[in-house]
Structures are given as C-alpha cells and as structure tokens.
Symmetry: C2
Subunit: 336 residues, 2 copies
Amino acid sequence: MATRKSTIYDLAKLADVSASTVSAILNGTWKERRIAAKTVEKVQLLAAEQQYTLNRQASGLRTSKSGLIGMLIPLHNSRFFGTMAQTFEVMARARGLYPIVVSTLRDPALELETASALISYRIESLMVLGATDPDAVSRLCTSHGVAHVNVDLPGTLASSVISDNYWGAQQLTACLLLHSTPQRVARRNKLYFLGGVASDYATRRRVDGFSDTLTAQFGLVEPGQIEACGYESSGAEAAIKALYLRLGGLPRALFINSTMVLEGVILFLKTLPAAELARCTFGCYDWDPFAAYLSFPLWMVRQDDGGLLGAAFDILDAGSYAEGRVVEIKPALLSM
Amino acid sequence: MATRKSTIYDLAKLADVSASTVSAILNGTWKERRIAAKTVEKVQLLAAEQQYTLNRQASGLRTSKSGLIGMLIPLHNSRFFGTMAQTFEVMARARGLYPIVVSTLRDPALELETASALISYRIESLMVLGATDPDAVSRLCTSHGVAHVNVDLPGTLASSVISDNYWGAQQLTACLLLHSTPQRVARRNKLYFLGGVASDYATRRRVDGFSDTLTAQFGLVEPGQIEACGYESSGAEAAIKALYLRLGGLPRALFINSTMVLEGVILFLKTLPAAELARCTFGCYDWDPFAAYLSFPLWMVRQDDGGLLGAAFDILDAGSYAEGRVVEIKPALLSM
DNA sequence: GTGAAAGCGCTAACAC
DNA sequence: GTGTTAGCGCTTTCAC
C-alpha cells in the first residue's frame, strides 16, 4: 500500500469519477454540488486508505490563500516570547490558520529577510513581536498587501498592541510604597528605579509611571533615584553595587526594570546577609517563574499574553491594522 | 509604484523579454543559460523596483520542493525546547532551508495532526523532538516519503539522537561522590536519586548510571535510595520532605532528576536553615539558568543542544534516517 | 449529480 | 542568448 503521494487524479481514477468531484468531496463543497452520498463515501474511504493528503502548495496557488499566519519573535529561549509563541499557536489554530513562529534575533536585517520569506510563502497575516525596526517590516507587508500588527513594541505604520507600561509601573510603585518599611537614613528612605534604556519607549513610560506616583505622594523625584543602567545583567550588578555603596546600604525599595536586570541584582544580593535584604522591598517589572525560588519576597508585573494577542488578533480580524492605533493592555501585579 | 504582487510575467512584459528568461535570472540559473549581462541587470533592477517576491507556492509546486523543514516540539515556553528551537533555526538556515517550529503540547493526536499539516505544506524533512508517540509520526512521514529523525526521545521506526543519559548520570554521580562530605549517621551517608518515572526510558538510563557508579565503589545500592516520584514539582516537594523526615536530615548528596523536580526540592529547602543545606551536595540532571541565583551551590548536567541537532542534521543529510539507529550525545557537567 | 477545461505562478525541456 | 511550451495539483466556472 501507500502509493507514494496520491493526487486527486489518482483517487478519481480509482473511484471512477472526475477530479473535480473528488476535489469537492475532499474540501467540503460537495453539499452545494449535491453529490450522491454513496459517491462521497466511496471517495472518502479511498482517500483514507491511500493516505491522501492535500497538497497545500497547489491549493494555495489556485485559491491564492495559504492558510498560514506568521509571527516574528526576537528569541525562542525567553520566557515571555516562548509564552507568547505558545498562546499565538493556540489562537491561530482556533481561527483555522496554521501558525509559523520564527525568531529574528533582534537583527533588523533578519527581521526584514524573514518577513520577506514568509511573504514568499504567502502568509495571510503577520504578527510582529518586539521588533527592532517594526516600520521597515510594515512597509514590506503593506507593499505586498499583508495584514500585520505590532505587539509589545509599537510601530508608527501599523496598529500596535502593547503593555500598559505606565499603568503597570504606577501599580508596582504604589505597591512598593505600601509594603515597604520606612528607613531612618533619609537617602535610603526612597524608592529607586534600576535598569532599562532611558531613550527606550517602554522604559520611558515606566519611569513616568514610577515618578508620577512618587511625585503625587512626596513631591519631586530626584534624578539620582533613576538609574537606567541598560538591560544587561552585568551592568545591573555594577549599578546596584554602586547604589549600595552610595547609600551605605539598600534603599527602602527597589523598582527593577526587567528580569535581566533582576538577575544582575540577585548576583549582588547573594553577597549580602539575609538581614539586610529583609529591610528592602523588591519589585520587578516583568515576570519569571524562577522568582518563586528566591530567598526573598518579590513583587512582579506580569504581561497579559492572552490579552495582548487577543487584541492583536482582533485588529487583524477587523482589518483595521493600517489605522496605526496603539492599544494598551494592562499587566497583572503578582507577589511571589 | 508597488503594483500589488507582480509576477514574472509582469516583469517579462516590462523588460520586454520572456518569462523564462526572467525566471532564470531571478533564481540564479542564468549563468547556464548564458543570458546577456545587460538583460540580467535590467530584469534585476525591475524586480527590485516592482518589489517582486517569488511565489514559493508556485515554485514549490513546480519543483516539488518547498524549502521548508519542520520541527515538532512539546512546548515553546521551556528553556530546553526554546534553546533547541533557536539552534534548529540557525542550522536550518545554514542549509538553505526555511525552519518551521511547531509545538504539540505533548498530545499524541496533535503531534500527528501537526505532522500531517506540515506534510501538506510539503516540508522536506522533519525533526521530531521529545514526542509522546514518535513511531506514529514516523509511520505518517514514511508513508509520505518525508525524511525525519527523533531527537531527545527515541523511537523505533526512525533513527534517533538522544542525550547519553547513562554517561551523564555516571558523571554527575561520581562528581557528587567526590565533592560531598561524609556524614556520621550511616543512613544519611548515602546518595539519593529523586524524581522521574521508573518506566520512562530516560529515567531508567539515569538510574542505571547512578546505581552502577555507586555499586562500583560501595557494593549494593538499596532500593530506598531511588525515589522516582514523577516529574511534578509538587510530588518532588512531598518526596524530599518525606526523605528528610525518614533520614532525620538531608543526605550526603542528592541526585535530582530534572529541573521540574528541582523546583519542588527548592520549595522544601527554603524552609530549612542555611547551615543544613551546607552539609548536603546537590546535583541536577538538567540545566536551567536560574540555578545561578540559588543560595546554595549546585552541579548540573546540561544537554548539548548543538551536538544533538548537529547529529540529527547529519542523519537527515546522509539520508540514513530509516536505519533506526540511536546516537547518543554526551551532555556537559556544570557547577553553578 | 457530475465532467471538461482553464488557469494560479513558476520551472525546465526543447527549440531556434 | 532567448522564446515556446507543457505541466506541477488543485479549484472553479460552465456545461450537460
């Protein structure tokens, strides 16, 4: 058995009907054609025993639809992107689309190249997650009539769905304020923001949320309270160390911008006695399950993957991707 | 500009040449056809300004190759699978193939369905990573002439590349033996194996490596030293707790089978004073970066993702997938 | 109820 | 050096 790759013509010959009849039976349009039930049964049986599978290159070529939906992500081996990929697959399948997730390593050239390859395969739409240069991808997609939407990092040429960084930062800051213990030394009785890149969109919004919340309670926030030391763990380790030395101890509370930064912070904290840690309250903007295994409590902000992708799919479904709107999705605050 | 989706016919008309000439120029076969340099240049220029992109559905249909290579993984949001996906993409691209990674949620039905969908799109080969029912996928692939190889978990109907679990367990056990401090109480002066499923292939090999290493040094290993309490973190937490009570403390060293199990163990260890932890030596068969942030030292076995996938690609390249051989790749031992 | 035929966009003989 | 032609496997009028 298993005649290598049977086509509708093979089946047609075996069933003694025409190829168009087979085609209609196999793709469900046979009701409209009012094909005899026994013909349907015969062909379906034959298809099963010949292990027939539709050639989607051919059917896609004919109908000019591929059934494919793509998603560009920076990396596979990151908790957030992995979770997004997982959720994306489920949602895509629920819409009858076949998901293709590809990583582009935060390389704008690879982003474009990959988008182009996906367009070659005639994807029907594209989700652009955390792209370095989303607008370049937008231009390419637009010129090929491919629906697309930016997620997590906004672009200007297509609609975007992002986390509500301002709101999330406000929540986390308020929470740190509420749950931290006042310190005697004035310069240590403050909240400090650590990590991120000052020119970066997400960081800016988070710093704003942080500052506005503090300002509302205490008046001015000093520049020294904000240390945008980048996203590298090594930079963060150096920054927290410097802060510790400057303050003569840990501050009242620490707003840590991303898990990467958290990792650097932990490397430093491991060198301190437990009693010192107990006096400081920690919050991290971003979520990672490993936090559950740390020796000190930590507040975390977790992005709402379902919310983000749900909104992104809504935009694709509505065909409103070209409007350039920005939708903000509120994250969740968790204590670990 | 941007005539929505230009074809080689559009370009042919504009350049005043035939479609086959355009085709040859655009896919690189023009040297053999000895097409005039100026024609080549003209067409290439035109293609660029018309934003032409090859329709791979059409070219694939014609040549009966898609340029696609698939990989089935259980989950996207796991460190190991994420890393494998990443490495897979790089290696696939290096071979001029376009990678498609899809997760199948450890669901045998979804594994088959996904493999079938990928075959529909005419993938040229398939990597089957950690599948629940690899042989079912093999049957499907074989009946459609699709080259494939099992990775991480072996099958019987196609060649497999897996970690050398026996060797890795030997290394880890020997290392724990070497670096642990003897205990006064006899029942605590032993190594204990925690986690995994006894009937599971990987667990069996690891238990063997563990037992053989100990037997060579001390004679018999008692059944009580091996606690295959599953892969759930909650089960592991209960198991380590029970062991602790039974022994009246932590043992000399603990062989923890997988990071999932490690998570359960940590939840229990957090309830103990640091001094107790210091007397026990910990090893985990599997690697996760979060281990660097734990408060106690830990030996870990890290699978060699490059080695595994390299060997898997070698099998595909050699076309020897049907031989049903099993290749074992040695993992690395790391101290964190 | 079903078949014949055209064509999706591309490639590769074969022609000249 | 380049054009003509015949499909790849499928869908979809239109015909009967």
